[in-house]
């Protein structure tokens, strides 16, 4: 019995593990390996040397505190918004939800420019003097990541049985007490999951730190970029990559501890959103603040895209089917959009397939502590890609996937696979709390009634996981649409994605190209919002029939 359990687990995990081995472990270890070989000989001292440099310590410390603070900000702003957007009923709720996800997919170059138009010396918020300060960096990171908290926690909150909270309230608990003793413990797994993902996104953010920090601040990620692409100091880059991996592992262990609850079983039942009441004022105010933080840079972008040569015009949008002033691009923006959408579909199903398998394996009840450790290790391993520099991964692809049987660096599948790996941890993190929360007795009941494992999965797990699965799909799609770091290394010239094209446009002289880049960003944002809206709508409908 025990043997079969483990065998099933291994069988399910095999596919995802193989993908991870080829597309993550191999390239990254290849790159790090180069750092240990000096003049053809294995040499550890160089790497150890780098770890002792004061600059390394400074860079590491900045990364940890800026990412930590940005994570806290995202949680503080995201939690009330998750409540308002997923538990309360009000007009245009779905639209607001979709809009809040937009920042997540915007290429950092564009957001950097939008933020700087806003907080720069001459911008409308220039009087705050934020340009080039850590405050601007943290605001930028929060802008990108607050959506993760809202979505991940919101989905969990939505399917939380409201009755225990109502019972506590009926017994005389104040709203704060209800939250502390009933709601928060039930949300904790989802919250910790979201926070750990946000921290990883922040700690490996590249463009935001450079653009908004005015080059005065270095994070581990920007340092690896500098060391690899400019200085070719592979020893130092390897040292920092190892540091990154260690820090991420430590974080994952910690998150695993915090996430663990005595009984993950949660009675899931979707509460009907209730009308807004007066005591929601605080949450509503904070949600508005979040909305304002997210809307301001986007608004700057939209306004900028509507101006050309000092006039209000749609010219920038009309230009999108061209290749830009002075043939700035190889393909028009419109065909880049098509490429982006196709790639995103591929990346989404890959991420869902792999993430679904992992989530099923990880969330099954373990019969022994050893088995539990094995499962949670497995869980953690798939989070690692988030914690590693895109530069290391991109260069690693080039130097390791170049010979048969792994001659893959020319493969058109590389881009969607890389994007799926980025989206994977989020998919897993959304699905696991829900699957773990399913009452195992239901599966046992199904089994005792004669249902095979597949049948039991279809009748017990699938209905539960359906909605989070859609949420995860929306997220994976959005991540793929906006992914730039890995894509910029791997895209094929005839088939650039939208963020790549935007980046190319923004780097060319001529205000026409700049305007086109802004217009293309607005299109990217709109496409994302649309996808999220459709997913939300579809998810709500299918849930209504339970």
């Amino acid at each position: 019995m025990r043997g079969r359990r483990l065998l099933t687990m291994a069988g399910l995990a095999l596919g995802p593990l193989l993908v991870l081995a080829v597309f993550f472990v191999l390239p990254v270890s290849g790159m790090i390996g180069r750092g240990f070989v000096v003049d053809g000989r294995f040499d550890v001292s160089g790497v150890v040397d780098v770890l002792g440099r004061p600059r390394t310590h400074r860079v590491l410390w900045f990364t940890v505190w800026s990412a930590g603070l940005a994570t806290i900000c995202s949680v503080v702003l995201g939690l009330p918004a998750a409540y308002v957007l997923h538990r309360l009923a009000f007009p245009l709720r779905n639209l607001v939800r979709a809009l809040l996800l937009v920042p997540f997919v915007l290429p950092t170059v564009v957001v950097g420019v939008a933020f700087r138009l806003l907080v720069g010396e001459s911008g409308p918020l220039g009087f705050l003097g934020l340009d080039g300060t850590p405050v601007a960096i943290i605001a930028g990171l929060t802008f990108f990541n607050v959506a993760v908290v809202i979505r991940a926690v919101g989905v969990a909150w939505e399917s939380l049985d409201p009755r225990p909270a109502e019972a506590a309230a009926a017994l005389g608990a104040t709203p704060a007490q209800v939250f502390r003793t009933v709601t928060f413990p039930a949300l904790r797994p989802a919250l910790v999951s979201a926070a750990s993902v946000v921290f990883l996104f922040c700690a490996t953010s590249f463009g935001v730190v450079l653009t908004l920090g005015g080059l005065r601040y270095s994070s581990v990620e920007t340092e690896i970029y500098l060391l690899t692409t400019q200085l070719l100091d592979l020893q130092a880059a390897a040292a920092l990559s190892i540091l990154q991996l260690l820090a991420v592992t430590a974080l994952l262990v910690l998150a695993g501890r915090l996430r663990r609850v005595p009984d993950p079983t949660v009675e899931r039942r979707t509460a009907r959103p209730r009308p807004v009441r007066r005591q929601d004022a605080g949450q509503l105010a904070l949600t508005f603040l979040t909305l304002a933080l997210v809307a301001a840079p986007i608004l700057t972008l939209v306004l900028g895209s509507l101006r050309a040569h000092g006039e209000w015009t749609l010219a920038n949008y009309r230009n999108l089917d061209s290749v830009g002033a002075g043939n700035a691009l190889l393909v028009p923006v419109t065909s880049a959009l098509v490429t982006s959408l196709r790639t995103a579909v591929d990346a989404t199903w890959m991420a869902l397939l792999l993430g679904g398998l992992i989530a099923v394996v990880v969330s099954r009840r373990s019969v022994s502590p050893a088995e539990r450790r094995l499962r949670s290790t497995l869980d953690g391993i798939f989070m690692l890609p988030l914690g590693v520099s895109a530069v290391t991964l991109g260069f690693g692809f080039l130097i390791t996937l170049d010979r048969p049987p792994l001659e893959l660096r020319e493969s058109p599948l590389l881009v969607p696979i890389a994007q799926a790996l980025v989206a994977l941890p989020l998919v897993v993190r959304i699905l696991v709390p829900v699957l773990a929360g399913a009452d195992d007795r239901q599966r046992q009941a199904a089994a005792s009634l004669g249902a095979g494992p597949l049948r039991a999965f279809a009748t017990v797990d699938l209905p539960l996981v359906w909605r989070p699965l859609l949420a995860a799909a929306g997220f994976a799609f959005a991540i793929s649409l906006g992914e730039f770091g890995a894509t910029s290394f791997l895209f094929r010239d005839e088939h650039p994605t939208l963020p790549v094209v935007i980046y190319q446009l923004i780097g060319r002289p001529g205000s026409d190209n700049f305007g086109m880049a802004l217009a293309a960003s607005v299109v990217l944002a709109a496409a994302t919002a649309l996808v999220v809206l459709v997913v939300d709508r579809f998810g709500t409908r299918s849930l209504g029939t339970f």
Binding site: L117, L226, I399, D402, D493, I506
Partner: protein, 349 residues
Amino acid sequence: MRRIPVAVAVVSAALLTASCSLVGSGDGGDDDTKVVLVTHESFVMSKKLQKQFEDESGYDLVIKASGDAGALTNKLVLTKDDPTGDAVFGIDNTFGSRAIDEGVLAPYAAKLPDGASTYALAGDDEHALTPVDTGNVCVNVDDTWFADKGIPEPRSLEDLVKPDYKDLFVTPGATTSSPGLAFLLATIAEFGEDGWQDYWGRLMANGTELTQGWSDAYEVDFTQGGGNGDRPIVLSYDSSPAFTLDGQGGTTTSALLDTCFRQVEYAGVLAGAHNPDGARALVDFMLSEPFQEALPDAMYVFPVDSSVALPEDWARFARQPEHPFTVDPAQIAEHRDEWLRDWSDVTSR
């Protein structure tokens, strides 16, 4: 529950369309008829020119563009045992020595057009790199801003640290941008290997703003850029004034010709190329008149062929410096890492 089959249908439909991204993936032709160009992200070659090359040479052209000149060079160094292409374009005079020293390139002495030999990389005796285009990185000023304020325009690097020009200058950083690196080299040429740190210290004390890339400096902070910038002095190119026409036969900006550093971009045949003949044909094509003529509009640089006619706006407004700053490539190769580290330290203080 009844909805789930519908959903399954939708998901399967999505999966079917998914293979879309695989359609049309064939690069067309095998190794003998295909020539792969590895280049940086700023490379532009019109469809018409691509077709012309393919028709004349009989090869299918595949372009792989990513990263800046530095990332490009380092990528070639890392993959030199099994290069990702046949030819390279975009290694510049600041990275040329590294590419040659690392043995990334195979020698090829192409027949150079008139005037091109002056741009050959010093020390490249085996003809590994062929010059294709050139341009100068210069400090640019907004003429209208200075006329309005009645302040005389700065002229030299030394002027930029004067109190008159406090908080007016914005430049991309040397560690994250190739024009930024070129500007650092200009200051090293002017103030010497031991003097530039002090100059940069004064420059930062005078309120110089650093940005990640050229676009951020020019489009966001510069007064004549796309946004509503408020800094009238920016690091850009000698050709930039040709892009800020006022519509009345003039331009609103000018390049300070005493602050320039000359960049030259090179092409070459990669060592270990699958199709060296195709690579050589491509290098030759880049020196041909149609390609050289298209350079200003495509990549905002000057052709190395002195006999090629420039676009009209360029002929009038893009003035080239006669004596730009230069630093010996061998010296750059030896000290670049040290200079960039020092620069990071000086500017992050």
